[in-house]
């Protein structure tokens, strides 16, 4: 090219410039283009010298020009004279390794002689643009596939964009959350917990973070949402489990398969005396008490290593050396692979349970003894009725100068002693007939002090300490008498010389804790009678047996062993409790708890007025299945002036009542008889003779009186054995009422 070429201006351009002129056929149709000029940049691009290119045809120099659309573009520019640009033309310079494909934007402009094609190398920009696009696509994929919810909010809190995870977290999985007003995020980079209300009505706990950003040039927020519902629920469950284990009353210990302690809950410290910290890493054998043989532990290990649960009772040793019984359950804990990874031991302190069991056995024993004693005493009373009755009859039939009079007196005395023994046995068995009244305990005791002082003698100082406001109690006054006399006599014997006996009354409120520690007690307010002495006291062994009948520490002949048993029976009969506290060498205190009488009833009258042997002439129907008792009672009644219809069975009594032509004033009947009891007999007779009155006699009223021997005050009753002196006034009372 000459220095004066019109294309000289293209020589130094970095863009490749090619000038083509069209080649036409006869019909003026463009069939090719002839290269008129190429600048040095075009030579570098084509890797061909100018001489090879200028004058050559385009389709020869660039065989692919028709495929790439370059030819058509050139043709169009020539025909329309309108410039055009072909973007992203890829220039292939062979496929040899190392040859790079270049990308060009080709501007084609019309010229007088044809057209000019300017090739601008845009390879770098294109690659960079493509890279950016690829990155954006990758980021979009990441956002789309993220399990974290990503939301873009505008400045007012309207959702501009939400990825699928955010749609799901916000509970709008199908329609999407975009467009919803979530609100201006008053949160920062630290997570804030919100509760999401989903379209399906469910709630989700979500952690939310927000940062300010620009979205399409406007201020916006990118918000991250992380659904923590399951995590929080699991945490709450774990926390609940933890709290339950931490706070439960059972000891929970987790060991490794070798028995090394890995965990113990806080109650472990309370029960064992060891701290959890000092036990972690120690072997469970640290609790061995030595009370069990190795066979037990061998069996335990055999059971748990075979994958089964071992249950049983073990006596363990505390840190201070004391022993404690535990109900233990040890189970293997299997890991996901199925192998045993831990053992969990749940231990329950059964000291209290054992004490309750012992208490229960003791109560059962006392009940059995009571039943036996009551049964024997009942039958024995019938025998005594006969002995005493006939002895009395004989004594009244002979002169005191008679040779047998003194003998009979001795028989009578022995009979009375026997009757007293059976009465005590019945008291212990809670079968003694009582007539409870509401009384002022202080007044009742005050009235007995003189007698008690005489009983204990002058060497013993009797101190009386009443509580001024003790409520009334309901009890047979004679039972208070029995209690105090028995306790005073015991105290006197325990003091053996000079000492002090204190009788006190008080009010006690027994709470739940006290009752838990004293099995058998019921919470509530009680009137307390305390009788204490500073005598020799007793040991635990004695204490355990003192309420059993015929248990005595006194010398043979000095005690019956029934005193405390009687008191026990009386206290139980009156729904009270008795405790004994004793220290060998220091003394003993009995504390008796009576339930207070809460109704406003008059305090009991004084002693019953008794009339000696009042007589009568009425007709009495006597029903008694024991022939000797029937006989002696008939004779008592006849001696008192009554007409007696004696019947040895209820049926016989009914027959006599039907046959007897005159009035019958009273039915005197045994309570327990074969076929029909006394009450039923009276009810049948009352149907025949509505005017008839009734009086019951029994050695055992509890059989038929519902409240364990407590008589209805309206029922006339006499306890067997009775004397003629006891029978006479009761009869008059029953007839005249």
């Amino acid at each position: 090219m000459s220095a004066y070429s019109p294309y000289a201006c293209f020589e130094n351009l970095t863009d490749a410039v090619e000038i083509f002129s069209p080649v036409r056929d006869k019909t003026d149709h463009i069939t090719d283009f002839c290269v008129q000029y190429v600048n040095p940049a075009a030579c570098r691009l084509a890797r061909k010298p100018r001489e090879e290119q200028e004058g050559a045809l385009l389709t020869v120099l660039c065989p692919t020009c028709k495929d790439t659309g370059l030819f058509d573009a050139c043709q169009q520019v020539v025909e329309t004279a309108v410039p055009c640009t072909k973007e992203h033309m890829v220039y292939h310079d062979g496929d040899a390794p190392g040859q790079m494909k270049r990308v060009f934007d080709v501007s084609i402009s019309p010229m007088e002689m044809g057209l000019a094609a300017i090739w601008r190398d845009v390879t770098e920009e294109t690659l960079s643009e493509r890279h950016r696009e690829s990155q954006l696509l990758q980021m979009a994929d990441l956002v789309r596939d993220s399990i974290e919810g990503i939301v873009v909010l505008d400045a007012r809190g309207i959702v501009l964009f939400a990825n699928p995870a955010a749609d799901a977290i916000l509970g709008r999985p199908s329609q999407g959350a975009a467009g919803y007003s979530l609100g201006y995020p008053a949160v920062g980079g630290e997570p804030t917990t919100i509760t999401v209300r989903r379209d399906d009505g469910q709630f989700a706990v979500v952690e939310m973070r927000a940062i300010e950003t620009l979205w399409q040039g406007e201020p916006a927020f990118v918000v991250n949402l992380h659904d923590v519902t399951a995590t929080r629920k699991a945490e709450a469950e774990r926390e609940r489990l933890n709290l339950a284990i931490e706070q439960c009353e059972e000891v929970v210990i987790v060991t490794d398969p070798a028995g090394t302690i890995e965990y113990a809950n806080p109650v472990y410290e309370k029960i064992t005396g060891y701290t959890v910290a000092e036990s972690i890493g120690q072997n469970m054998s640290m609790h061995k008490s030595g009370e069990h043989g190795e066979a037990l532990y061998a069996e335990l290990w055999r059971t748990i290593t075979s994958g089964r649960t071992w249950q049983g009772r073990i006596i363990n040793r505390r840190k201070d050396g004391s022993l404690y019984p535990m109900a233990v359950s040890i189970s293997p804990v299997r890991g996901r692979g199925g192998n045993v990874v831990n053992y969990v031991a749940v231990q329950r302190d059964v000291s209290h349970e054992q004490a309750l069991e012992e208490q229960f056995h003791q109560a059962q024993k006392m009940e059995s003894i009571g039943r036996l004693a009551g049964g024997v005493a009942h039958d024995f009373n019938n025998v005594l009725s006969v002995i005493l009755g006939y002895t009395e009859m004989a004594l009244t039939s002979i002169q005191s100068t008679n040779a047998f009079y003194d003998d009979l007196q001795e028989v009578h005395k022995a009979g009375r002693r026997a009757a007293e023994l059976t009465r005590q046995l019945l008291a212990f068995a809670r079968k003694q007939a009582i007539a409870p009244v509401v009384l002022d305990l202080n007044a009742t005791i005050a009235g007995m002090l003189k007698m008690l002082k005489r009983l204990i003698g002058e060497d013993i100082d009797l101190q009386w300490r009443p509580h001024s406001e003790v409520p009334a109690i309901k009890i047979d006054p004679g039972q208070i008498d029995q209690i105090l006399v028995n306790l005073a006599v015991n105290a006197r014997d325990a003091i053996e010389g000079v000492g002090t006996l204190v009788i006190a009354t008080d009010i006690a409120e027994l709470d739940k804790t006290y009752c838990e520690e004293h099995p058998g007690f019921t919470p509530g307010c009680y009137v307390v009678l305390t009788v204490s002495d500073n005598g020799k006291g007793m040991d635990k062994e004695t204490e355990d047996h003192i309420f059993e009948p015929f248990f005595t520490t006194k010398a043979q002949g000095k005690g019956t062993g029934l005193g405390l048993a009687t008191i026990y029976g009386i206290v139980k009969q009156n729904e009270g409790y008795i405790n004994v506290y004793s220290e060998p060498g220091l003394g003993t205190a009995f504390r008796i708890y009576f339930p207070p009488f809460l109704e406003s009833e008059a305090v009991a009258d004084g002693a019953e007025k008794r009339q000696l042997e009042p007589r009568g002439q009425e007709t009495i129907l006597l029903a008694e299945d024991e022939a000797p008792v029937l006989s002696i009672t008939s004779r008592f009644l006849e001696r008192l002036g009554y007409t007696v219809l004696a019947a040895n069975s209820p049926e016989e009594a009914l027959k006599q009542a039907q046959d007897y032509p005159h009035a019958i004033d009273l039915l005197l009947t045994d309570v327990v008889m074969p076929g029909m009891n006394g009450r039923e007999l009276f009810e049948s007779l009352a149907a025949l003779r509505p005017e008839i009155k009734c009086m019951y006699m029994s050695g055992y009223p509890a059989d038929v009186i519902a409240n364990r021997g407590v008589l209805n005050q309206n029922v006339h009753f006499i306890e067997k054995p009775f004397t003629i002196q006891q029978l006479a006034p009761k009869l008059r009372k029953a007839i005249e009422e």
């Binding site: 007012r156 919803y180 609100g183 008053a186 949160v187 804030t192 209300r197």
Partner: protein, 108 residues
């Protein structure tokens, strides 16, 4: 928790009453904390009287429906207009002020 209204007027109060509705879910610690925080912010940063209605969406879901509540705690500024809506536990005062359209250091 009953929906409650609190009316507070400072002695020097004047201007428009702020009407705020706080939507919470249940009576747990988070709900109570949000209420306490909101009262504290109102006392410190509002120069005029304000009313806060607290709505428990567990008890009054229809109120949540009516207000299109997506999540709680959500605070709506009903008055003064324009209405604004804030999401979050209200623990960051600056953000709450910004959401309410108050300057960061607005005080009495």
């Amino acid at each position: 928790m009953e929906n409650e209204s609190i009316y507070h007027a400072t002695p020097s109060s004047g201007g428009e009453i702020w009407e705020l509705v706080l939507f919470v879910a249940g009576e747990d610690g988070a709900a109570l904390k949000a209420q306490a925080k909101l009262r504290s912010i109102c006392d410190k940063h509002l120069s005029g009287p304000y009313v806060i209605d607290v709505v428990d969406i567990l008890k009054d879901p229809e109120l949540a429906d009516a207000a299109d509540i997506v999540a709680t705690p959500t605070l709506i500024r009903r008055q003064p207009k324009p209405a604004r809506r804030i999401i979050g536990d209200l623990s960051i005062t600056e953000k709450v002020l910004s959401g309410l359209g108050l300057p960061p250091q607005a005080t009495n």
